[in-house]
């Protein structure tokens, strides 16, 4: 069986991903208020970009592959955006009557 060494870029990406994981767990305990969420989601996005660009080889791909890969994320962004134009602007959200049903 022929063995193949892992390319250096894969090894590095793996180590960086594990470091980012350690960082995001540590950062969750820092008292940053609302920014805890921002930090957590930013690190998650960076990790996903590393996975997509290097493990999924998007950085080496050409032509139609990039728009195809981005389409899902693009439509998901529209979903979030349009949904929150509703929920973030409702005068009564969450509905104030709901706790009466729950309790």
């Amino acid at each position: 069986m022929t063995m193949v060494r892992p390319p250096r870029v894969l090894l590095l990406s793996w180590l960086v991903l594990l470091l980012l994981l350690a960082l995001t767990v540590a950062a969750a305990y820092w008292p940053l208020g609302t920014f805890n969420t921002v930090v957590a989601l930013t690190i998650a996005t960076v990790k996903t970009l590393i996975v997509a660009a290097i493990f999924m080889e998007l950085r080496e791909s050409r032509g139609l592959l990039i728009p195809f890969a981005g389409a899902g994320v693009f439509w998901f962004a529209i979903l979030l955006w349009l949904a929150f134009t509703d929920f973030a602007t409702r005068p009564d959200f969450p509905p104030s009557l709901l706790p009466l049903i729950w309790n």
Binding site: M1, T2, W30, M56
Partner: protein, 213 residues
Amino acid sequence: MSDVRPAAQFVDLRQQHEVAQLGMWVFLGTEVLFFGGLILAYCVYRFGYPDGFAEAARHTKIAIGAGNTAILLTSSFLVAWAVTAARLGAGRFAAVLMWAAAGLGAVFLVLKGIEYREEYREQLVPGLHFSYTGPHSGPVSLFYSFYFAATGLHAVHVTVGILVLIVIGIRARAGRYSARYHAPITVAALYWHFVDAVWIFLFALIYLPGRAP
């Protein structure tokens, strides 16, 4: 395997490989929106009940969650390595790497099961075994509904991924792939990396909120 020919509609194997990858990305686009609907629901309720969601997230098992993230990241690395090996014609070695990744996927599922059992003991399973007192019991129940739907759906994807890696690994072991033809390994790898990426976000949304003092 030097006699592998492209299907009739393709000019050559290279074009066939590109089309297979493109098709997988289309499928992954639908998967983004599949999980996206769930994540939207989570965002809406977390926006509505920030304190309740923070309190609920504090009851998740962050050690298992973080360990499972490391396991999936490592398995993704192994699968990416397998693709490199396949490209160089080392199909049998790629098979070993894919099976190792499948093994890590199985460890992930076992740990997830242990976590579910803990949550059942703590009566945090809405609809089945749920009992939580305090002003946030409603939002906590919402959080755990999302938790079980999202991680359960993800676990189904991990299971499918494990089976795909095992089957493609068996074929690679049998010498079905070569430096010229290994598109199935690349496509299976894309799916596995996607499952990993979904978990990266689920980890941030489920385990990390509410930890800071």
